[in-house]
Amino acid sequence: MQQIINFVFKNSTRLLFLLLLITSLTLTIQSHSYHRSTVVNSTNVLTGSVFEKMSEVNTYFSLREQNNKLAQENASLRKILFNQKDSTTILKKDSLKGYDKIDVIQSRVINNSYSVSENYLTINSGALQGIKEDMGVVNSQGIVGIVEKVSPKYATILSVLNVKSKINAKVKKSNHFGSLIWNAKNAGYVQLIEIPRLASVKKGDTIVTGGNSRIFPENIPVGIIDKVYTDTETNYYTLNVRLFNDMTNLNHVYIISNKESAEIKKLEKETIKADE
């Protein structure tokens, strides 16, 4: 016993080092696993309030630009509104269910990252505003990411510029779909993989989100094809897609809440369980 105590006293620095090292490596490994539940993230009160203050200052520098973007979006929405076939049916809800399937929550990005291989954004609304995990995030130009962690007042978003992100997307013209990933090289481009060879795709075609996702509604713009090449291993097409969005400059975003998402998820889970 005496020897054990002596040993601990003698090597106290080394033991402390090992203990802290194990803690930090555990946190690191946790953050690299796919669906992480990390303790250390930027949804807590300290980081949230600091980011909020920083963004309050930063937004002053881009007010004019942001206003222009919002005005443009208003104009395009008005165009849709005025082009309805019958103006009396504009606001009519589904008479059977009594609600709209998709709800949109407005929010603001208070921390943006695009320079590492696993990028996350932080927004200034959370569970109190009705945000839940796995909701889609878009802005006026295109997709932004998927909600990852939620705290009462803040939420983090897995950006499309994250090597862990995988989103269903399709070629608008031909409806061939594949998975949208990012190769961590350039913040302006993402890659659409697993497009079958029989699809006729060419530079300049538009990519939109596909219908196979319960996170994003169909036909949200993603980007245009910049380059088409064949994957030597799988013989599928890989498309280099230039994003419509400037991911380095995000401010107002919309969170898409699909009210049937939970039901679909539950059903899929039960199906898998029934198979086993």
Binding site: S12, T13, L16, F17, L20, L21, T23, S24, L25, T26, L27, T28, I29, Q30, S31, H32, R36, T38, V40, N41, S42, N44, L46, T47, V50, F51, M54, N111, S113, Y114, S115, V116, S117, E118, Y120, T122, T156, N186, A187, T248
Partner: protein
């Protein structure tokens, strides 16, 4: 009496704030961010409590991690740097470093430069390896280490010169 302690606390908060508010948002060429917050570990008094330094570096790294959503990579690399610091002192200043009164916070001599440079290289290499977390990315990690280390070095030297204690 506890002048050194207060100085270190102030340095801790100042470097942390500067890192989060300014240096994390530089994004030179799109992806290079300097990490001069590790100056805290380098400037920590030479002959003081090692355990204290380990805990302080861990907390420093963990706070940066919290703000960058990166798990524990900063905490781990800061901790390893803090642990290796005496070895680097020995390497840069010779075996008898403990008996001399070394001040990193002084005019830049070759010894000080060596010490700061290898410390930054070690920290950044561990940081980027943990960030990529795959050995296939070792080349990218090395490239980023070198590019970022040079940037951090320049910023660190500027900070050291700006806040050099006045000579009386």
């Amino acid at each position: 009496m506890n002048n050194a302690l207060i100085l270190n606390i102030v340095r801790f908060i100042f470097l942390l704030a500067a890192q989060i508010v300014i240096f994390n948002n530089i994004d030179l060429f799109g992806y290079i961010n300097p990490y001069p917050y590790i100056l805290f570990i380098l400037l920590y008094p030479v002959n003081s409590n090692r355990a204290g330094l380990l805990v302080a570096s861990f907390l420093l790294g963990l706070t940066v991690d919290m703000f960058t959503n990166s798990g524990g990579i900063h905490a781990a690399s800061c901790l390893i740097l803090a642990y290796l610091r005496p070895t680097y002192f020995k390497f840069a200043f010779g075996l008898s470093y403990e008996y001399q009164t070394i001040k990193i916070n002084d005019r830049l001599s070759p010894e000080r430069f060596t010490f700061i440079f290898i410390s930054i290289l070690t920290h950044h290499f561990i940081l980027f390896m943990l960030e990529y977390f795959k050995f296939t990315f070792i080349l990218e990690a090395l490239l980023r280490t070198i590019a970022t280390a040079i940037f951090t070095l320049i910023i660190s030297i500027i900070i050291i010169y700006l806040f050099k204690p006045n000579k009386r």
